[in-house]
């Protein structure tokens, strides 16, 4: 276990919390055949990875709004790429709120 500065450990803990909530939301809402812990943070949502399709993207947007009270614009394709890009969007919105 790495010996990290406290501020960095807090940063990691905050990120983990968001990532876990995103994974839980996607698994429940999209009825994925994975457990949240089976999904890596850099897993792609479409194409390979979770193999979601364009219909699922609307469900993801609704899910993020429901879970975090943030609204991903429909044309913001760069946020809808991986679990981590979703987390980037959520964190940025929370910081600017």
């Amino acid at each position: 276990m790495a010996n990290l500065p406290d501020s960095m450990q807090q940063q990691i803990n905050a990120r983990k919390e968001i990532l876990n909530a995103i994974k839980e939301e996607l698994v429940e809402r999209l009825e994925l055949e994975f457990e949240p812990e089976d999904i890596d943070d850099d897993t792609f949502l479409f194409g390979g990875g979770l193999q979601l399709d364009s219909i699922d993207s609307m469900e993801i947007i609704i899910g993020m709004q429901s879970r975090f009270d943030v609204m991903i614009p429909e044309d913001d394709v760069s946020s809808l790429r991986t679990i981590n890009t979703l987390a980037d969007f959520v964190q940025n919105e929370q910081l600017s709120a």
Binding site: M1, A2, N3, L4, P5, M8, Q11, I12, R15, K16, E33, F34, D38, I39, D40, D41, D42, T43, F44, G47, G48, G49, L50, V77, S78, R81, T82, N84, T85, A87, D88, Q91
Partner: protein, 382 residues
């Protein structure tokens, strides 16, 4: 087995370049003329590439499905005819031999591999056939592959083989398409993050098909792209490079490929090691880093990544992102710290440079905003 691939061989397309490199025992183009032009073709228009270095195998016989399932991570029993999957071949210790596309034709399975010599893959496949009514044929040198990548890759194929290409979904393939007088099998796949297709054909016809693509794509500014630029594009989009992070990983979990494991499949080479790994805390994980400050310093493979004096891991792949204008790298870090948003330090030459952990992929792809039913290269926006 009808044929075997010689230990080192030369792609039938190699004569188009004077700068060759050897990948998986095959000499192919590293650079054609100008890496800027090659990169721009992939990211802005259409690039064609020589993928003849892939290992290529046909597995056939009554037990072909079971035999293939024994050697790949994915469950090919789930594959419909006309569909492909992207997966790994593992060693018994769970480490990765190579990645592979597996195509289900209905009559047999075609396996296209990258990351190991055809001889290594053939021996691995042949060993798995021993207890099955199945045989493996090495078609590496008799079958050629040309890749087409770019935001307008679909437009080139639409012009040459027809509108049907627009209906081809990711990892689907269609047979008996004509390019000139030549039959090709077209797979929707790629490792650049842009629209991508791979064309399989008899190696005797590959030069003719290549010329056909160059001539047919003149108005789309088609350009050939070599291995150097393709490797960068692969990293920018976080496709696994089996010669870098894939070779370094002890199992697929370390390279963020946990969802590729089929929970219901329990008989394949590497299963026991992978089962043990999935039930233990992950020790390290690969994450992207962007180097801040000095744009000329690309971290070397093996360079330490630190916070204060604590070594957190090492660089397993690196390059200079042309789109970001910054050095990028993949680092295998202690899994407890492999999270996005951290400011760390990476060794580059004699100095330690600030770097930031970032989400996959590194870049934005133009293909995300191109709509094949409506758009065209000619009328594209800047």
């Amino acid at each position: 087995m009808a044929t075997t691939t010689p230990q080192t061989w030369t792609s039938p397309l190699a004569h188009f370049s004077s700068d060759l490199t050897t990948i998986d025992d095959c000499r192919i183009a590293n650079v054609y003329s100008d890496t800027d032009a090659e990169y721009n073709a992939i990211r802005e228009s259409v690039a064609i590439s020589d993928n003849c270095h892939y290992g290529k195998f046909v597995v056939r016989g009554a037990d072909a499905q079971d035999a293939v399932n024994l050697v790949v991570l994915a469950d090919v029993a789930r594959l419909a005819i006309g569909r492909a999957t992207w997966t790994f071949l593992l060693r018994s210790d769970g480490s990765l031999i190579c990645d592979a596309y597996v195509l289900c034709t209905g009559d047999d399975y075609i396996i296209l591999t990258e990351g190991a010599s055809p001889e290594t893959v053939r021996e691995h496949l042949t060993g798995a056939m021993e207890e099955h009514a199945a045989s493996v044929e090495d078609i590496t040198t008799t079958t050629a592959i040309i890749a087409i990548d770019g935001p307008y890759a679909w437009e080139l194929l639409k012009q040459l083989v027809g509108v049907r290409i627009l209906g081809l979904r990711y990892l689907e393939f269609i047979d008996d398409q004509k390019l000139g007088d030549n039959d090709v099998r077209i797979i929707r796949s790629g490792k650049t993050g842009e629209f991508g297709y791979q064309l399989l054909m008899d190696a005797k016809h590959v030069t003719s098909v290549w010329s056909h693509l160059v001539e047919g794509g003149a108005e789309l500014d088609v350009a050939p792209a070599g291995a150097e630029v393709l490797s960068l594009c692969r990293m920018e989009n976080r496709f696994i490079n089996m010669h870098r992070e894939g070779a370094d990983a002890r199992n697929p979990l370390e390279i963020n490929c946990r969802v590729m494991i089929d929970e219901e499949k329990d008989e394949f080479i590497g299963y026991e090691a992978l089962e043990e790994a999935t039930q233990s805390p992950l020790e390290r994980r690969v994450i992207g880093i962007v180097v801040e400050g000095d744009a000329s310093q690309v971290p070397s493979l093996g360079a330490e990544v630190k916070v204060e004096d604590e070594v957190l891991g090492r660089v397993v792949n690196s390059g200079f992102s042309r789109q970001l204008g910054k050095p990028i790298a993949l680092a295998a870090l202690d899994a407890e710290v492999a999270y996005v948003g951290l400011t760390l330090a990476v060794a580059a030459g004699e100095s330690m440079l600030d770097c930031k952990t970032v989400s996959a992929p590194f870049i934005y792809n133009k293909s995300l905003t191109v709509r094949p039913q409506e758009d065209s290269y000619k009328t594209r926006k800047a």
